[in-house]
């Protein structure tokens, strides 16, 4: 029975759908998280009677053939890059990106990774680092005697030093953009690396040439929408049940066949 394996592909697809949804729901409060969506496509078709072939010598053709599909497959699990809400944290070193772009951070291995989660801290030697201690690139050094840090919309970092009235520029935040954001490879810990699919990063100044602007004192929340996730979960669960029902029915048909004497 073909229908057994067809229904099995359906159950596997819906299982993956539920996995993607549960990961989205689990990351509802992860800053900078982008929700994912499983995209399905039909599998190959078997032509039992090919459409458009001649059905007689007079040249009449078959108007509608018999094609039996072989089930469903997962085409992609794509990341939906819409902007998350901006959450006011009032922390001077929380930076949200409004629009396109990623912060570039240097991994301990020396490679570059990219993130939109902008909750930065100051390391022991005054460098701006992520929550995992990876340095923001290009490095920004906040002097220990600084009493205030201001980050402008276009990424300029200024500090006010103890006993001074004029603030001074200590660095410039740069953002990387990619032709295809969905092609980035997620490393976990809110980090991504470039791939052939994403294309090479273009480094730009915030609020310039289509690059997003940065906002000090805010964090970008996850763009997961609880209502839409739950409704997708319901459809996925019901679709799973229906496929299981097809397996039961096919099994029943097969048991009928086995009972021939």
């Amino acid at each position: 029975m073909q229908s057994l394996s067809i229904a099995a592909t359906g159950m596997m697809a819906q299982q993956l759908n539920v996995e993607v949804i549960s990961n989205n729901i689990a990351n509802m409060s992860t800053s900078g998280f982008k929700r994912q969506r499983a995209e399905f496509q039909d599998l190959l078709y078997q032509n039992l009677r090919r459409v458009g072939t001649n059905s007689s010598d007079a040249g009449t053709i078959v108007p509608a053939g018999v094609q039996v599909g072989l089930g469903v497959k997962t085409a992609a699990v794509n990341r939906i890059m819409t902007q998350g809400n901006l959450d006011n944290t009032e922390n001077k070193l929380d930076i949200a990106i409004q629009g396109r772009g990623y912060f570039r951070v240097e991994l301990p291995s020396g490679e570059d990774a990219y993130t939109r989660a902008g909750s930065f801290q100051i390391s022991a030697d005054g460098q701006l680092v992520t929550a995992d201690g990876y340095t923001l690139a290009p490095g920004i050094n906040i002097p220990p005697e600084a009493i205030d840090v201001t980050i402008s919309r276009d990424g300029q970092v200024q500090v006010t030093l103890q006993g001074e009235t004029a603030s001074q520029v200590v660095g410039q935040i740069e953002l990387a953009t990619f032709a295809n954001d969905a092609g980035l490879d997620p490393l976990g810990n809110n980090l991504f690396t470039e791939t052939t699919a994403s294309g090479a990063p273009t480094i730009g100044t915030p609020a310039n040439d289509g690059v997003g602007s940065v906002l000090q004192g805010f964090l970008e929340t996850s763009n997961v929408n609880a209502v839409s996730e739950i409704t997708t979960l319901i459809t996925a669960q019901r679709a799973y049940e229906m496929n299981a029902k097809v397996i039961t029915a096919s099994d029943e048909m097969m048991s009928v066949t086995t009972n021939i004497k």
Binding site: N47, R49, K261
Partner: protein, 244 residues
Amino acid sequence: MENALLIGLSRQMAMARDMATIANNIANVNTTAFKSETMMFEQYLKTDASELSPDKRITFVQDVGQYRNMRDGALQTTGNPFDVAITGEGFFRIETANGVRYTRNGNFYLNNEGQLVTSAGDFVLTDAGAPIAFARDETGITIARDGTISTDQGRRGRLAIVTFGNPQDMKKTGDSLFETAQQEVPAQNIRLVQGALEGSNVNPILEMTNMIEVTRSYASAQKLIDQADQMRRQAIQQLGTPAA
């Protein structure tokens, strides 16, 4: 005598294929822009082998074709700017390695060169017959109702939306693609929705009831075969026993 067995068998073979079609519909209940299919049967008339009884005709079951339901699936908003749903008639033109194919699945992406592609990486064609590419610094990509693509740097082209004389005469090649030798006609009333995808048009209630029906008819055909077998066994027993 064997006819009863063979007719029952022809019914069961057709039913097994019908079940495969239903299973495929149900497996694709969450597939973007999937169009459900229904198997069509006809009788295959054959005069009885015996010329002496011309009025006794037997008919076998044959699956002649499939009817594809081209009704629109429900719109699902995804919020992804490169997701485009077609409401009403029409197909997108896709350039694949095997030639131009057609699809209603508008789940598009930008590739590493900024070109608009399908999830398999095949190019989405504009009405100029070429792929469309966006520059790195272009933002605010909008796809209008009639397929016109514009960004903050102005109009960039228009998605090709085509229709065909007979959508039934299109072959599914998997991956949500259709293939046909028919002449394509530019669609007239294009209604695209950006940020949404067309869902599958499989009606789960209909498919489940069809499935029950198929399972039951399969069993009843089995009953027919069983009884024909019993008749033959009895005939052999009775006729084969020598008269005392």
